[in-house]
């Protein structure tokens, strides 16, 4: 099950030896480990930025009404995710073709959700960002309709990555109904963390702080529960899924999955969030909140990275061929 590959003198990977090996085959195309090692990693950043950006917009507009934070979320998706996708594509000049097959392709659907989200989000925020010439005002019925459209499309941006992975039938670690809720929950939690960090960086007070902290704690517990179900599901599934689990727990991917995603990204932030409630001074509370948010974001990135790295295709041949 080695991922070794021969390299020429410039270090360029020229042959994927797994091409000629029987048994489960590592997916080498998405995430680090492909033929264009670092450029291929841009896809991971696109998944990450899309989730946390859309999550930040939803949390900022729905729960705390912070225009600046919502705008940051919109930029993370509109600029960050878009640029990451363009870096990843083999032919970025043809990016417009990605929108052509929404009937069957989750990538097309996801990118359409993204464009709709950016359009609705920008239109909703326009009056608050100084574009006074727009013919609607914040708080008007039309503005509320824009917000509903933006929140719905942001939710779809948060969840579509899960459907993209779940649609790959031969990768048993991905082909599970758990993928969409897992990605959605991580996106909302990442969005909450981004919102905290933005407000702390701006030096603003955090409105509805208690509600947000409670939601964050519930999200952290939900994410932990989803990961436990995901792991148990793989343990009781096919041999390929068990091999994926072995990679997640015993190879160097375990550092990202157990070390960063679960311990640093879930358990430590949960403790910090709970401790934050009893912090003696406001400064300590802010530092704890910031630290917890950074760790949550690291965990979010790591869980996406680990899931991509655990992607193994079922063996092409079955016993007795």
């Amino acid at each position: 099950m080695s991922q070794s590959s021969s390299s020429d003198q410039s270090g360029t990977c020229v042959l994927q030896q797994e091409d000629f090996k029987p048994g489960a085959r590592t997916q080498m195309e998405w995430g680090f480990g492909g033929r264009r090692r670092w450029r291929d990693g841009a896809l991971l950043m696109a998944l990450f930025l899309g989730g946390i950006g859309a999550g930040q917009f939803v949390v900022s507009t729905w729960l705390i009404d912070s225009v600046t934070s919502a705008f940051v979320g919109l930029l993370v998706v509109g600029v960050g995710k878009t640029v990451a996708h363009l870096i990843y594509l083999g032919q970025p000049k043809r990016f417009y073709r990605l929108f052509l097959r929404p009937k069957t392709s989750w990538i097309s659907r996801g990118l359409i959700f993204m464009v709709v989200f950016v359009a609705f989000g920008a239109a909703y925020l326009a009056p608050d960002l100084g574009f006074d010439w727009v013919p609607w005002e914040t708080g008007s019925t039309f503005s509320d309709a824009l917000l509903v459209g933006a929140i719905l499309s942001a939710s779809l941006v948060m969840v579509y990555d899960g459907f993209v992975l779940a649609s790959c039938k031969s990768i048993t670690a991905w082909n599970t109904a758990l993928m969409p809720p897992l990605f959605f929950t991580y996106a909302v939690a990442g969005g909450t963390a981004m919102t905290y960090l933005t407000l702390i960086a701006m030096g603003s007070n955090i409105p509805n702080e208690d509600t947000l902290t409670t939601i964050d704690s519930v999200l952290l517990i939900s994410m932990f529960a989803l990961l436990v179900i995901y792991v148990l599901n793989m343990k009781t599934s096919t041999a390929t899924a068990r091999e994926s689990l072995r990679r997640l727990t015993t190879t160097k991917v375990a550092v990202a999955f157990i070390g960063v995603a679960i311990i640093a990204g879930l358990l430590v932030p949960l403790s910090l969030t709970l401790y934050h409630e009893v912090a003696t001074t406001e400064t300590i509370a802010s530092v704890l909140l910031a630290l917890s948010s950074i760790l949550e974001l690291a965990g979010d990135l790591s869980v996406r990275h680990s899931i991509l790295r655990a992607g193994l295709h079922a063996p092409v041949f079955s016993e007795g061929l």
Binding site: D8, Q9, S10, T12, C13, V14, L15, Q16, D19, F20, K21, P22, R25, Q27, E29, W30, G34, R35, R36, R39, Y88, L89, G90, Q91, P92, R94, F95, R97, L98, F99, L100, R101, T104, S105, W106, I107, S108, L111, V164, S167, C168, K169, S170, I171, G311, H313, A314, V316, F317, S318, E319, G320, L321
Partner: protein, 209 residues
């Protein structure tokens, strides 16, 4: 209408890789890109273990996963059953390569020479291959077996079928019940790989025992 398919007799295949080499020569694929390959598997239990060479290529499925997931429409199911990639429409997102259960698709980011370092400049053959490949395919796109479209249009067999010294491969029309491929599938219980995915592959394997 003809529907092209292939039957591979595992009893005859010796794993000589002639098909792999013939495919590379025919299509001038760059290093690391294999449209046809052979892997070796072991099956059975001691003392009746069998080590078997299994040739692999695009299965040209009737319900191709790669076509469903392709966001650009670059992957197309042709009326004659072949699944093709239009390199001018592909954006290189590699969703098809991830979704294909058979590992039949290759992404090429750039042409790389076969021999590097002291052997530069490249041999005339390497230069010729590079030129031919870049004439037919773009950089940064996905490529795959097309059942040797040009050869078949000229009434020839695909290169891998032609090159196989053991005559393990048979190419023909699956819709013609009298064709050799249909007869082989019927008489020797031809099997598809991973029928549970519902891809309905057009490449069949005849069991080794």
């Amino acid at each position: 209408m003809v529907r092209w398919g292939m039957v591979i007799d595992l009893k005859r295949c010796t794993g000589c890789h002639s098909c792999t080499v013939a495919c590379k020569v025919e299509h001038h694929t760059p290093p690391g890109v294999f449209w046809a390959k052979v892997v070796r598997i072991e099956s059975g239990k001691y003392p009746t273990v069998i080590r078997q060479a299994v040739p692999l290529l695009c299965m040209h499925c009737r319900e191709p996963e790669c076509e469903k997931v392709c966001p650009t429409g670059a992957t197309k199911k042709q009326p004659d059953g072949r699944v093709t990639v239009d390199s001018e429409e592909c954006v290189g997102c590699r969703y098809c390569a991830v979704a294909c259960p058979y590992g039949a698709r290759c992404f090429t980011s750039d042409w790389k020479d076969y021999f590097t370092g002291d052997t530069k400049p490249s041999s005339p053959y390497a230069e010729y291959s590079k030129r031919k490949w870049l004439e037919e395919s773009d950089k940064g796109v996905v490529s795959k077996c097309d059942f040797c479209e040009e050869r078949v249009a000229q009434g020839k067999q695909p290169a891998c079928v032609n090159a196989c010294p053991c005559e393990a491969r048979t190419f023909g029309d699956l819709d013609d019940s009298e064709s050799e491929v249909s007869q082989l599938i019927k008489k020797r219980r031809g099997m598809q790989l991973h029928p549970e995915y519902g891809t309905d592959a057009c490449v069949y394997y005849l069991p080794a025992r």
